[in-house]
């Protein structure tokens, strides 16, 4: 038997690289959630009114509800394909700590689902009459918030892997847990749009991100093991 020489960081890096490569080959997996985000955002003016003053008031809400729903949609693709072709099982059997490998997977997922939303958010905001001064805070908060959603969602996605009805169940599990992100993110964006300091909610959002990134991979690993046994 030959000695296994792949170190933990190498293994994590390989997982990250593999997921990014796969996503670039199946490009629609990245673009569909963004298109969904833009569509949800365009529903609000149609349902409410095209009045610019009203739209400006709800701009933060539209961006954040859209981002939340879109990242929920993207969570579907996090483990499903890997479970179907057996990759997830191989990761579990690889001898490396599963939590670190899942951390790499979730990081890749955040890069693929979060970053496009960070880029798309200013366009939605500007169509709602937000001013360019708020873009910095808006993009930072969306980046932090989608990070929390990816890591929190990875636990939910792992828990629903072995169950019969995935997507609606996933939303039922993740949405109540994601509320702090919605509250802090929308508040930060709102404060920035009114020209006030958004430091408070941004720090809180960062704290939630650090906590989630630290703890969620353990829960995801436990959940994946349960789903695969």
């Amino acid at each position: 038997m030959s000695e296994v020489t792949t170190s933990l960081s190498q293994a994590a890096w390989l997982v990250l690289e593999r997921d990014l490569k796969l996503a670039f080959r199946r490009w629609e997996q990245v673009t569909h959630p963004v298109v969904f985000f833009l569509m949800v955002a365009s529903l609000f003016p149609l349902a409410l009114s095209p009045e610019p003053s009203q739209l400006r008031n709800i701009a933060a809400c539209v961006v954040w509800v859209g981002a939340l729903l879109s990242s929920l949609l993207a969570l579907e693709s996090l483990y499903r394909a890997d479970q179907d072709d057996g990759t997830l099982e191989q990761l579990t059997l690889s001898g490396q700590p599963l939590s670190v490998l899942l951390f790499a997977k979730t990081l890749a997922h955040w890069l693929l689902s979060g970053i496009p939303l960070v880029v798309a958010a200013p366009f939605v905001a500007i169509s709602m009459g937000a001013t360019a001064e708020a873009f910095g805070v808006l993009m930072t908060s969306v980046a932090l918030g989608t990070g929390v959603l990816s890591f929190l969602g990875s636990v939910g996605a792992a828990l629903t892997l072995g169950s019969r009805r995935g997507s609606v169940l996933l939303s039922l599990l993740v949405l109540p847990l994601a509320l702090p992100v919605l509250i802090f993110g929308a508040r930060a964006t709102d404060l920035a749009m009114h020209g006030e300091s958004a430091a408070g909610p941004l720090w809180l959002l960062s704290a939630v991100l650090i906590l989630t990134v630290t703890l969620a991979p353990w829960a995801s690993a436990a959940a994946v093991r349960i789903s695969l046994e």
């Binding site: 636990v155 828990l159 629903t160 072995g162 169950s163 019969r164 009805r165 169940l169 039922l172 599990l173 949405l175 109540p176 847990l177 509320l179 702090p180 509250i183 802090f184 508040r187 809180l204 939630v208 906590l211 703890l215 969620a216 829960a219 436990a222 959940a223 349960i226 789903s227 046994e229």
Partner: protein, 246 residues
């Protein structure tokens, strides 16, 4: 050592099934007496509130329901963690049995709060921090039960929902804090606060009776439901067949 043998004995389904069956009347009868006395004291003997008039009397159902909805969630998460760590099936059965009870109390709390809010705040629902927290707690229960029902295999349902309950209990303080920070309108706590309760004894004693009665009611309901869970899980076990035959 003695405590651990006791613990292991209790976690064996046949033993627990017997003990729980014996305990039900010991919980249910005091619960019924306390709730009847408490509700009577609250609805008839206690004076009307100087500010809220007769409407305050909803507290005799509302506050115990709110307390139990939280206690059930904690019980559920602790039982789930015990089941996950030590692989005790009975702990999973307790968690599974507690969830619907907790969800019912959360709903009762929301419903009574809404009924009280109509005359007091002039609205059925207010997007206030404590109401919203309670609503989210209710949603967390629903998510937990939905996850359980999505699995056909009981062992996997147990273990997956246990992870969810633990993740949920870590999140509850964050959710509570974020919602509080978002908005607060609900009146502060009346019973547990610095300088003693802000209530005369004639109001307080029935309330405490209701708290104790509702908690005992939970204990009785939990015994009944865990027994039902045990029956379902052990339906092929020999001890049950012997019990049925004897």
């Amino acid at each position: 050592m003695a405590t651990w043998t006791w613990f292991h004995k209790l976690s064996s389904p046949p033993h627990f099934y017997r003990i729980a069956g014996k305990m039900i009347p010991w919980y249910a009868i005091p619960a019924a007496i306390l709730i009847v006395l408490g509700i009577y004291g609250g609805l008839f003997s206690a004076p009307a509130d100087y500010q809220q008039g007769e409407a305050f009397r909803i507290i005799y159902v509302h506050a115990p329901a709110a307390w139990l909805s939280l206690m059930c969630y904690t019980t559920m998460a602790v039982a789930a963690a015990v089941g996950l760590i030590w692989r005790i099936k009975l702990a999973h059965a307790l968690a599974a049995a507690t969830a619907p009870i907790g969800a019912s109390f959360a709903l009762l709390c929301l419903a009574t709060g809404s009924l009280w809010g109509r005359p007091m705040w002039g609205t059925w629902w207010e997007w206030d921090a404590r109401l919203t927290s309670q609503l989210i707690l209710f949603f967390l229960y629903l998510g937990y039960m939905a996850l359980r029902s999505a699995y056909d295999d009981l062992t996997r349902a147990d273990r997956a929902s246990a992870v969810l309950a633990i993740v949920g209990v870590v999140n509850v303080p964050i959710i509570h804090f974020s919602v509080n920070w978002w908005n607060s309108l609900h009146q502060g706590s009346t019973v547990i606060r610095k300088g003693g309760p802000a209530m005369p004894p004639s109001m307080l004693i029935p309330l405490l009776m209701c708290f104790a009665g509702f908690t005992l009611l939970y204990a009785a309901l939990a015994c009944v439901r865990v027994r039902a869970e045990v029956l379902q899980r052990e339906r092929n076990a020999t001890w049950l067949k012997e019990l049925g035959a004897g």
